[in-house]
């Protein structure tokens, strides 16, 4: 069976203006226990790549610039 792609809203939001991934920061990506964040290679900014969040918040707590905001995923909000 061919595989299709479906979309959903990203509960974890990164403020591009504050994110310093272009300077080499990967803290939020490193700490996420579910490994769902990544750095966008083109924009050099962190983003939520997979909708698999445990809303535990190390990404937000450890970000050096306060760029990450964890919202409760819509299905359980």
């Amino acid at each position: 069976m061919p595989i299709i792609t479906q979309s959903s809203s990203a509960a974890v939001v990164i403020d591009d203006a504050k994110c310093i991934a272009e300077k080499g920061c990967t803290v939020c990506v490193d700490v996420c226990p579910l490994d769902i964040l990544a750095i966008d290679e083109g924009r050099k900014k962190a983003f939520m790549k997979y909708d698999e969040c445990w809303y535990c918040m190390p990404c937000e707590a450890d970000c050096p610039t306060g760029a990450v905001k964890v919202n409760i995923p819509y299905l359980l909000r």
């Binding site: 069976m1 061919p2 595989i3 490193d30 700490v31 996420c32 226990p33 579910l34 490994d35 790549k49 997979y50 698999e52 969040c53 445990w54 809303y55 535990c56 918040m57 190390p58 707590a61 450890d62 964890v70 919202n71 409760i72 995923p73 299905l75 359980l76 909000r77």
Partner: protein, 579 residues
Amino acid sequence: MTDATTETIEADILVIGGGTGGPMAAIKAKEANPSLKVVLMEKANVKRSGAISMGMDGLNNAVVPGYATPEQYVKEITVANDGIVHQKAVMAYATGSFPMIQYLDRLGVKFEKDGSGEYNMRKVHHMGTYVLPMPEGHNVKKVLYRQLRRLQVAVTNRYMATRLLKAADGRIAGAIGVNTRTSEFLVVRAKAVILACGAAGRLGLPASGYMFGTYENAANCGDGYAMAYHAGAELANLECYQINPLIKDYNGPSCAYVTGPFGGYTANNKGQRFIECDYWSGQMMLEFWRELQSGAGPVFLKMDHLAEETISEIEQILHTNERPSRGRFHEKRGNDYRKRPVEMHISEIGFCSGHSASGVWVDENARTTIPGLYAAGDMASVPHNYMLGAFVNGGIAGADAASYCADLDLPAFDEGDLLAEQERVLAPTRRADGLTPHEMEFKTRRLVNDYLEPPKVTAKMEIAQRRFAEIRDDLSALCARDPHELHRALEMQSILDCADMAAAASLYRTESRWGFYHLRVDHPETNDEDWYCHTMLFKDAAGRMSHRKREVAPYVVPVEAEEMAAYHQLRVKAPQAAE
């Protein structure tokens, strides 16, 4: 033939799982013998992995002199588990409890103390006083990490262990790991292996439908149980599920252990108390379920009668520590503890000895039934372990493994086993299309809800087994297009293994026990004559899921028959009006 990139390293001790019990196992092994090479393999990042990723609100089961003796604790846990406990292991925990608190205190973990520097203990359990709050408990992972560095434990992050390796003589010989970002293999040869992979928290499907909205850290999907099973270890009492009273939809603790000592309590829709004690047990969950069935639900955690200072203190603890997103959830809902009680519900099922009594069988030295293989924390069979249990039993495993290693050569493993595992792991990457890990996981977990949740019905559990077998056939179509999807595809297979184990274990024990956890409609009575025993599940020589009974070893702390019934009288006699 595989195209796998494989690196092999050698160690004395391999610890799998860098959450709570795993780091302590590595630390205590190194403290016992600093010359040992200890490798800690973690599928996430040890800095922020596991149940205590953000910290913890308190110790739920601290045995502190002046408040309780180890004997009293052993008795309470025996009673809370309907007598089916290996008391020696509970005693080993109980006597190790206070020294571990002092050790953690020295390392810099903050516990609540009174003016004179004594620990500020609180009563939540039915009988004794065992809760030690940690309002500043957010630095636990940092403290552990510092100690791992200091002792030079070798940490490999982002490697998911998939199978254990054994030597021809049956000893443990190491494990195979897969990098979750590159799919490269890492083979760790070791003389002893300590499993500390946490609970099986992605077994049932949360009512919200959000697969990762679990009570447990969602990385804990049952890999430890699956690995132990496939290696031939025995698993105990898996039918004693973990089912928790949680904040509805948020699916995290509310938390009655924190609020109870301040005067908060569980109430029905009339604001009335209906259970004597908020300590999580199967009997408590049964009363919770009955209240919902009777139409007196929803059930709430009630705090709106408390004073403002008390509520701000509760908020401070609950919204900044172990689950800080709780505050964010309540805010969106307009929930204010001052005005409205918090709606609770019954969680989906899982395996976890932290809160029940199931897991990979271990004795009082944390040894499994395989020589050289240890287990600790939520996945090992010591009941009601919680965080301190993971630390103490992890420490016991580490120290025992250190002496086990002393005069042992590195065991050899069968190269064929490695090749077979690499084939199994990579199979989903060899297909261009097919079924996705997400949909196969979703379906497995949806069927767990439909057919395995208590009250357990024989006919339903048999249907579950047939449906799980169909899903097993569908694995030949499972497709992973990148390393992340492969990671999920492997996790999905652990979940399916656990689902099969949950069904088989529940069918084997033909009685009801542990309140709601093993409530069998076709066998409603507790039958001590035939079932006052542990049930052991294991893979037999022919590869079939098999069972046997294991006698409950003679108690080290005797329990009188009338004391044994204490947890059966949890329902409030005549409902009290809200005060």
